[in-house]
Amino acid sequence: MLSFGGYEGGFAGADVRIDELRSKLRRWVSRKLLLPIVVLLLLLWIGSGIYVVGPGEVGVVLHFGREIAIAQPGLNFRLPWPIQRHEIVDVQRVRSAEIGYRSSVRGGSFTQRVSEEALMLTGDENIVEVQLFVQYIVQDPSKYLFRARDPESTLRAAAEVALRSIVGRNTIDYTMTEGREDVQAQVRVYLQRLLDDYQTGLLATAVQLLVVDAPDQVRNAFHDVVRAWEDRERLTQEAEGYREDVIPRARGEAHQIIQAAEAYREQRVLRAMGEAARFSAVLREYQLAPDVTRERLYLETMERVLPKAEKFILSGDSGVVPFLPLRSLGMAADEPERGSGR
């Protein structure tokens, strides 16, 4: 009987045949199956050393707690526990950290500002709000696992250290405008130096300043500066516009004045030539018969002139003292008409 026999005593009185059957079965099992079971368990134990390293992952094998090998993606074997163990690190997944804000888990369009992280002093004693986005990968799995505890929070702290010291070295205007790229690059270099120093095994692949802005309390004043700058440009442009409107018009006007003067000159000259020609022609004819022509011209003119004018005729023989009522001449408009009828 096996050691299990201890139970048998209890059942002995009940049914001997079943009891015998059982013990037969047990003997059979124990003799024929004990070894295979042991072997099977042994195989299972050894088989527990088979593990899979996924694509983009790296396995680290520990032999009695000491790192002995790095396993590449695929099917791998190590000695079973407790002799060897393995740990798997994803070395291709790009991880990210957010400084100064937290994006919502869903979507990501909405972000929540974290003021105590975002606000920082600049080198000219101003305060600026900066939001930093860091992407990183695990570069050295064994350092990542064994050299620094909690590399992720170390990275966060290091990113804050780097960001704030670089921003603290520069002025607010430089950081917000033309120096933004430069600050970003410097933060990246500084951060990587800290990550290496701290043996985190992490590599910062991207460091991006998402927001560099004035704090809420003074944002309006900063925006007003931008508006003022635009105003300056606008005023200048408007004045340029005025100039571009005025000058061509003036040039046009000047051209007009000169053309008018030229027209006057030509007109004067041509008219003079015409009149001179006319005079010369008349003179030629006049010289052929001066007296007659003179008389004729005189009378023709008088014929044209006199009908339109008031006329008083004084006879030389009448002996009347010529009295001309000069005053009434203008007043009595119709009186001379009668006189003219005489």
Binding site: M1, S3, G5, F64, G65, R66, L121, E125, N126, I127, L145, F146, A148, T154, E160, R164, S165, R169, I172, D197, Y198, Q217, V218, A221, A228, D231, R232, L235, T236, E238, R243, V246, I247, A250, E253, I257, I258, A261, Y264, R265, Q267, V269, R271, A272, M273, A276, F279, V282, L283, Y286, L297, V305, L306, K308, A309, E310, F312, I313, L314, G316
Partner: protein, 286 residues
């Protein structure tokens, strides 16, 4: 016989396993260990692997071997020029002597508290030696170096190596912050005013310039125009003079006739002598 041997074997094997379990211990990559025998130090294990000790009599205590981060709470410090600063620092440390560490501190909380104490007092001294502006600007790293160097001996007594101290946040106390904001606003307003005034300046300059140019263009044109007119007048005069010079008397006659036609228009009143050349035949044919 088999009845009694098998349980015995099982028992012995079980005892054996238990003994081995008690005797063997694994120190992994993340750990270091000390072995104590009734509280007395036997050995320190700082490389990972499988080790053995005397079961039950000797005990193993594990500590961290990785680099650890201590993140303090922000505290106020005074600079040389008596300005207050809110500084939040982080420090990196590592247990180098697990025995001393175990004897003096035992837990990480205690260790971190001690660490912060030492660093904070060094930081206070160091910051008090610098002006506010140099703390925030150039000398941040130098100050941290000094603090770390000064703190190291005190911290080494706990079996801890201080790797470095860094300023994480360096802010102004909230009351001071308000006045900084006020100053920033004033500064921005100044810049905005300057931009607008500069715009006005440029605009006026350009407009005045344009007006001037226009006047010059027009005046030049006028001048030229007068010159041209004069030329026309001169040429006309010359032509007239040349023509009329042929017979000035006849010209005077003709020109007078023409003038009469113009002068004696409607409404003119003429008093004529009946003896005049024009009317001399009016009363007699002689």
């Amino acid at each position: 016989m088999r009845k009694t041997i098998l349980p015995l074997v099982v028992f012995v094997v079980a005892i054996g396993i238990a003994l081995v379990m008690q005797a063997a211990y694994i120190v992994n990559e993340r750990q270091q260990a000390i072995v104590l025998q009734f509280g007395e130090h036997v050995r320190t294990v700082q490389t990972p692997g499988l080790y053995f000790k005397i079961p039950f009599i000797q005990n193993v205590f594990y500590t961290e071997s990785r680099i650890l981060l201590a993140d303090g709470r922000p505290e106020e410090y005074l600079t040389l020029d008596k300005k207050r600063l809110l500084v939040d620092h982080i420090s990196r440390w590592r247990i180098v002597d697990p025995l001393v560490y175990y004897q003096r501190l035992r837990t990480e909380e205690v260790a971190v508290a001690r660490l912060q104490q030492v660093i904070a007092s060094q930081l206070r001294e160091e910051i008090a030696r610098h002006e506010f502006i140099t703390v925030i600007r150039e000398e941040r790293e130098a100050i941290m170096e000094n603090v770390a160097r000064a703190s190291r001996p005190a911290i080494a007594e706990f079996g801890i190596e201080l790797l470095d101290v860094r300023i994480k946040r360096l802010d102004l106390p909230s009351e001071v912050q308000e006045s900084v904001f006020a100053r920033m606003e004033a500064e921005r307003n100044r810049i905005a005013l300057r931009y607008r005034a500069e715009g006005e300046e440029a605009a006026r300059q350009i407009r005045a310039q344009a007006d001037k140019e226009r006047e010059i263009i027009l005046a030049t044109a006028q001048e030229q125009a007068e010159r041209i007119r004069g030329e026309g007048d001169a040429r006309a005069t010359a032509i007239y003079a040349a023509a009329y010079g042929e017979d000035p008397e006849f010209y005077a006659f003709l020109r007078r006739l023409e003038a009469y036609e113009r002068i004696l228009g409607d409404g003119a009143t003429l008093v004529l002598d009946a003896e005049s050349d024009l009317l001399r035949f009016l009363e007699s044919t002689k």
